[in-house]
Symmetry: C2
Subunit: 340 residues, 2 copies
């Protein structure tokens, strides 16, 4: 067991990796939702003046990164690594962003768990002394994701009530070895968990067992009481998945219900936005983290947050070949104080 591990699968950071800047960009629909006042930029047109939805998504990710740099008074050349990924085949959004931003690029794929995957690795690269400043970023776009994973939008296919609405959004977080917090204090990288769900229109149910597994592991490893955190927030389980997650954990003796919510549940208003179970996509947890969560932490309304982005590792090929949907979740503790 190496010196920065506690319990079986959790890392405790020692060298105060600090969040020094962050930014969120969303599409028009997200800009009409309950969290609208927290986003840095609400795009008026979901094409962003580009010729395709994929290029629009990449532009949105570039905007989030540029804004985060701008807010910190930094340039590309101040950054050691860009850690990014997205839902598009071969990370089209991140790859074409990395082409514009002249920084060593580490491409990640964790489906919608990418925001906590990139944050965890960014914190490790800083804490380990390999970098001074790292950007962790991700994006998703309703139209590029739907046509890739499900149906051409022109078909107007009816969606079941268990379906989630892919968020058009992007988020970027800049971490530094030198800052005043909030700090990344712990991370718990998850294992792939698959209980056999095959319905790509019920991803919350597919991801819930992985979310529960990682949350349980985190509390087992750290020995924390649920009350250690002001907020425990998963990535994009939405209404069905979050209920399942709480149920699974309750059966294992862990009741998180008083502290728990989900980014996909919070980002839309189900009454007037017709989003069924709630939001999904990498951009869901990315924009909620880099909008709502970090702004509330800046105001000290939140001080100890456990953020668990969740991913469904399906592809159209795996679905067509009759495979079930493997889920994954990574947990990151973000806290305003740093206790050695």
């Amino acid at each position: 067991m190496s010196n920065k591990r506690i319990g079986k699968y959790t890392v405790k950071f020692e060298n105060r990796p600090s969040i020094i800047s962050y930014a969120s960009v969303v599409g028009p629909k997200e800009g009409e939702g309950p969290l609208r006042s927290y986003f840095d930029l609400i795009e008026k047109d979901d094409y962003l003046g580009e010729k395709s939805w994929e290029k629009a998504e990449s532009k949105m990710l570039q905007n989030a990164i540029s804004l985060s740099l701008q807010k910190a008074g930094l340039k590309d050349s101040d950054i050691d690594y860009l850690l990014a990924g997205d839902l598009l085949n071969q990370l089209m959004s991140s790859s074409f962003t990395a082409k514009q931003i002249h920084v060593p690029f580490i491409g990640l794929y964790g489906a919608c768990s990418t925001m906590s995957e990139s944050l965890s690795l960014a914190a490790m690269l800083i804490d380990g002394g390999f970098a001074d400043k790292v950007i962790a970023a991700t994006s998703s776009h309703f139209s590029s994701a739907e046509r890739q994973y499900r149906f051409p939008l022109e078909l107007g296919t009816q969606r079941p009530l268990s379906a989630q609405w892919t968020v058009t959004g992007a988020g970027a977080t800049i971490l530094s070895s030198n800052g005043e917090g909030p700090y990344v204090t712990y991370c718990t990288i998850g294992k792939v968990v698959d209980l056999g769900i095959k319905d790509a229109n019920n991803m919350g149910a597919a991801m819930a067992p992985a979310a529960a597994d990682t949350i349980k592991q985190h509390f087992d490893d750290t020995g924390f009481d649920v009350n250690h955190y002001d907020l425990i927030i998963s990535g994009d389980l939405a209404s069905i998945g979050m209920g399942l997650t709480m149920d699974i954990l309750k059966k294992q003796g862990l009741d998180i219900s008083k502290k728990y919510t989900d980014c996909g549940y919070e980002i839309y208003n189900s009454e007037y936005q017709d989003t069924h179970a709630g939001g999904s996509g990498c951009g869901c947890s990315a924009s909620v983290l880099n909008g709502f969560i970090l702004k509330e932490m800046e105001k000290k309304k939140l001080n100890h947050v456990l953020f668990i982005a969740t991913g469904a590792l399906l592809s159209t090929t795996s679905s067509q070949q009759g495979e079930s949907i493997p889920g994954i979740a990574h947990a990151v503790s973000i806290e305003n104080s740093f206790n050695k």
Copy 2:
């Protein structure tokens, strides 16, 4: 600048991350090539008894990982992280491998640069004290890649002479904080470089500028003479890309020609295997590293190797939308001795 960086973009490892095991698995065609005696397992059937090429690829990756564990006398539960990625949409091969191997999973996408991306991160996680044992692994399969990126194989489309042949192969490397070498001593994470090549049948040319950029950066940062290394070997530039890389570097005053070759150039015999420019795919550099290179290092016939896996970050969507092919390359120094 943090303490483990030298020059602008290179990491110098301090805590002796050591390669303690490795394994390579290839398909029948690679098993007839010039490096056949170096591979641990040559599959007789490129379906591996599975019902699809994608499932076969995932099985091959599982076989490489299992073999590497077996050779070291280790079990899944001894491993802290699995770092893996592949070419398939949403990493189908790696995701379904991670479902079988119960280890925290960090999914990566660097196209064919994944072997050096995963090795670099694995070394950082160990050197930084976050892990004791990490598996870095990747795979590719001729048939799953060709039908995803280019044409249905049933069409029998004629391939231009600049085209490369996707290697059916997988490789896994186990790194540990405690071992007798070979050690990962340096890594240089690359930036995305794109000089405007749009032909998916000429990927060597698309990746060469990125390879040259990373190699130049590595020598600039370390101050090494080319003679520091016994071998400088790129991932899958094949005959066209390797010539271009040497030319670009020569114009910048760096002549690597006496030490340099390429995994894609070495893995097939162009005279009797009809592979045109040479091999490509994540499995190309993965099987050559975990076959030829590490076996030659074990015999001390090679002692100082610079390994530069190279990736072409295209997708069918980006090609259809008229985009050029961004390239990336990451360099890793693997050495039998460790000088602090």
